[in-house]
């Protein structure tokens, strides 16, 4: 097939604006999926994706569309993951396309995430086909939203398509618009092969499957191929296209979107954004834009039942096969036992990993409060990266500290601007600029420490704008910030799993909130329990759990010895579930205090 009749596009939309429904409709209209196989959200194959209505991994599908000019076009739809945590993956998916459908809900208007992805598409020089969806809704304001969208992409409101993916109205016109407006792929068919990896997955029988867009040249089975950034080489076992299942073809040529079966055993050997080329006589330079994605949010994962540790390790290994961005290393906590310190792209990524571990691997997990990566320079001059309060050097030996910052974009109704500014102020944000998208809707740009948003920023934003604000961010890198470690001492003993790293300005408030929460969770015992929060050796907050004075079975005679023995055995069992810290018994749930406190304390 000539490049002239190929169109590669993706769909940009906010969650719930109808991306999956539109994709379903396109598959139906082009008879790519037989009517009897049609189910909702064909492309979202993971259980979790369908349930949450979001796309975690990108997918691709090829449809054939008989256009108005009588020719049949090959349209490759590359589905993009739809969340801030996966911005890089989205950008790589977009880089594999020449055009994008920008789908906006006719009742909701543009959201921050749509905007961010639209800008990504514009940066990647994609032709944008704006679409207003859900025009069938009673609350739809198709004209108003069309104006907003036209304003954003720099076109006329008349060029904005108005459709209902639900009823199918206007979907045919969308496909025709792709043919008409999106340019065909350009590529040097005769040049050495270059293919952009925009996603990969692991198949237990076939190894790593790379999802690629061929930019130059072509690839064939049996060819020896090299991933240019990472240097991984392998032999192509099979390649082909998605229609929508994998269908083997004898070659993938310039402009094609398809898959390559690599036989590799680990997705981390084949990173998204890398360029495939022939191992011998390959291209001289890779395609631009590759980044080594590094986790920025860290949390400890511990099995509730310590016997499940080996299962947790196996499950993480399996997930890692499919998720190059996930990192983990063993961690031991005196309170929580054996577990793993895991690194995630962001909070959603963390949530998804946790849910998949619990659901697909049937594990019961305890997740510690997430923290971001910090950079710390000790007096001796060495910079180290700290992912865990335990790695934090002594307060006395720290020279300077840095924390990661993001540039946040918030879109909200104009009457909520004050509330949003106040929130950003509280979160140590620096105002960037403000722009009216329409008289009613405002975009605010702030630089914020990532630590301030990993906990409950989004919840707060939603609650302070009655759900109307949307939010997106991109990572800016590390900036100076005075961070300290707050330790908790129970009866004078430091308890590792209760430590937290926080900005100096928040330390007092969080330390106080933490000891208060602990006081409520630690039952009275035989001894007085002093609960202290301290920075280094300086105590910043203290609470006391008074010793109990009486715990005794009032009477015990021949008739109720069995019952009293059972009560005693029960009490003994209860103690087993407690963690012994010196003389103090700490219930498991007390260790969760640090989780909640971060939420409250940051507010």
């Amino acid at each position: 097939m000539s490049l002239e009749t190929i169109r590669n596009f993706s769909i940009i939309a906010h969650i719930d604006h109808g991306k999956s429904t539109l994709a379903d409709r396109i598959l139906q209209l082009t008879r790519t999926v037989a009517e009897r196989d049609m189910r909702e959200q064909v492309l979202d194959s993971m259980e979790l994706e369908r349930e949450r209505g979001i796309t975690i991994k990108a997918q691709a599908v090829r449809v054939l569309f008989p256009a108005a000019d009588g020719r049949t076009y090959e349209l490759n739809l590359i589905d993009t993951p739809g969340h801030v945590d996966f911005t890089y993956e989205v950008s790589r998916s977009l880089a594999a396309c020449e055009g994008a459908l920008l789908v906006v809900d006719a009742a909701q208007g543009i959201e921050a995430q749509t905007l961010a992805n639209a800008y990504l598409a514009i940066e990647n020089e994609l032709e944008i086909v704006p679409v207003v969806n859900k025009i069938d809704l009673p609350s739809a304001d198709a004209d108003g939203v069309a104006l907003e969208v036209a304003d954003l992409v720099g076109g006329n409101a008349e060029d904005v398509l108005r459709i209902s993916a639900k009823t199918g109205a206007g979907v045919g016109e969308v496909l025709q618009a792709i043919v008409d407006r999106v340019p065909p792929p350009q590529g040097e068919a005769a040049a050495p092969g270059r293919a952009l990896i925009f996603d990969s997955s692991y198949d237990q029988y076939r190894g790593v499957v790379a999802f690629v867009r061929v930019v130059d040249g072509s690839f064939e089975p049996r060819q020896r191929v090299r991933a240019m950034a990472q240097g991984t080489t392998f032999e192509v076992e099979e390649l082909g296209v998605f229609s929508p299942g994998m269908r083997a073809t004898p070659e993938l040529g310039a402009g094609d979107v398809g898959y390559v079966i690599t036989g590799l055993k680990d997705v981390s050997q084949l990173r998204v954004g890398d360029t495939l080329t022939q191992a011998r006589g390959g291209a001289a330079a890779p395609l631009p834009g590759y980044q080594d994605v590094k986790p920025m949010v860290f949390a400890g994962l511990f099995p509730t039942d310590s016997d499940q540790y080996p299962e947790l390790r196996d499950a993480l290994e399996k997930l890692k096969l499919n998720d190059a961005a996930l990192s983990y290393e063993p961690e031991t906590s005196r309170a929580l036992g054996f577990g793993f310190r895991c690194g995630f792209l962001g909070l959603l990524h963390m949530d998804i990993v946790r849910e998949r571990l619990e659901r697909e691997h049937d594990l019961d997990l305890l997740v510690t409060a997430p923290n971001v990566a910090y950079r710390v320079r000790a007096v001796d001059g060495e910079w180290i990266e700290v992912h865990n309060p335990a790695q934090m050097p002594d307060a006395g030996s720290i020279e300077e500290t840095e924390e990661p910052y993001v540039r946040a974009s918030i879109i909200c109704p104009s009457d909520h601007v004050g509330a949003v500014m106040e929130l950003n102020q509280e979160r140590r944000g620096t105002f960037g600029h403000m722009e009216y998208l329409s008289p009613e809707r405002v975009q605010l740009i702030y630089d914020l420490p990532l630590a301030e948003i990993v906990l409950d920023y989004y919840d707060q934003l939603k609650s302070r704008t009655r759900g109307y604000a949307s939010f997106d961010y991109e990572l800016l890198g590390f900036r100076p910030g005075q961070v300290v470690k707050v330790d908790v001492l129970l009866a004078g003993e430091r308890v590792d799993s209760l430590s937290l790293i926080t900005h100096r300005d928040n330390a007092y408030r969080q330390g106080k909130a933490l000891v208060e929460a602990l006081r409520e969770r630690i039952p009275r015992q035989m001894f007085e329990v002093a609960i202290q929060a301290a920075i280094g050796s300086r105590v910043i907050a203290r609470e006391t759990v008074k010793a109990k004075r009486k715990d005794v079975l009032a009477k015990c005679y021949g008739g109720d010895i069995s019952r009293k023995r059972k009560l005693l055995e029960k009490q003994k069992k209860g103690k087993r579930r407690m963690k012994q810290v010196g003389n103090i018994e700490v219930p498991q749930e007390a260790f969760l205090a640090v989780l909640e406190i971060n939420r409250e304390g940051a507010a």
Partner: protein, 359 residues
Amino acid sequence: MSVRHLYVHVPFCAHRCSYCDFVTVTGHEELHGAYVGAVLAELALHGPLTPETVYVGGGTPSLLHAESLERLLTGLPACADVTIECNPETVTPELARLLRRHGVTRVSLGAQSFQRHLLETLERRARPETVAAAVEILRGEGHENLNLDLMFGVPGQSHADLRADIEGLLAHAPEHVSWYELEAKPGTRFAVHHGAELARQADALEDHYETVVAALREAGYRWYETANFCRPGHESRHNLGYWLGHDYLGVGVGAVSTLGLVRRRNRPRLRPYLDACAAGRPAPADVEELTAPERGLERLMLGLRLDQPLHLNGLAALVDDAACDRLAAAGLVLRDGETMTLTDRGRFLANDVLASVLR
């Protein structure tokens, strides 16, 4: 079979107090005679006994008709230490004489409180003056070994109420005092009615317990068991049997026996009990087979209720030495080679201490 301790249960009560969880029967006076017959029949199945102590408890044994009570006491094996429980309002000179005549050496009176409003809360029939009268009658008829049962933690009990109860008690100078914290067992009528109030006064109760112990000690009583006090030499020898882990035989509806590793619990329903005994069959019962470690654990649990050192012969394996050392350092436990005792503070916290030192 040599049974050292015999317990006889008499379930009849004039009124079932809502906090009570013993096996009791209200009304059915017509069954008093049949019940005594049944108890004696059950006892006969065990052959001739020569117990060191006999304890007739209830229920309200003193509620039995005089002839039934007489028949019961006559039918029990001869013993030099016989206790019977009485409610103050049932005590008459006739009863006191009857008890003396039939070898009762110790009378335990369920006084509970000397405060009218607390007695009402507890649904007791006696009034403060009834208790005083009962003590006077018993003393007058030559009963020299009296126990009074009292309670703290009654809903609405103030510190002043407690002080008044302590004074009231000491005025009667009993040889023995059992002073329990009221246990509102979940699900009882009492717990439902007074649960909220009890939860409110939980903190004050810590204070009450300490106050009771201090006041009675000051008055010359020995705090010889968690909830029991005595003048020197007047321990309840029957109850000591339980706390020292001796075997005991219980007869009557709901009564429990522990003989070696077998614990038998007579079923609580009166009719089937009467029918079985009348037919010369063993009382319907549930049998619990104890393991040696369970019995050992009970031995620790009960033995550490006493102020006398517990010998750990054969029990050492059940004790976590490290925890024991920790608690000893904290002043809760005294460990002296093969014996173990709880300190005063340890006794107030006995449940927690036990749960900690058990392996």
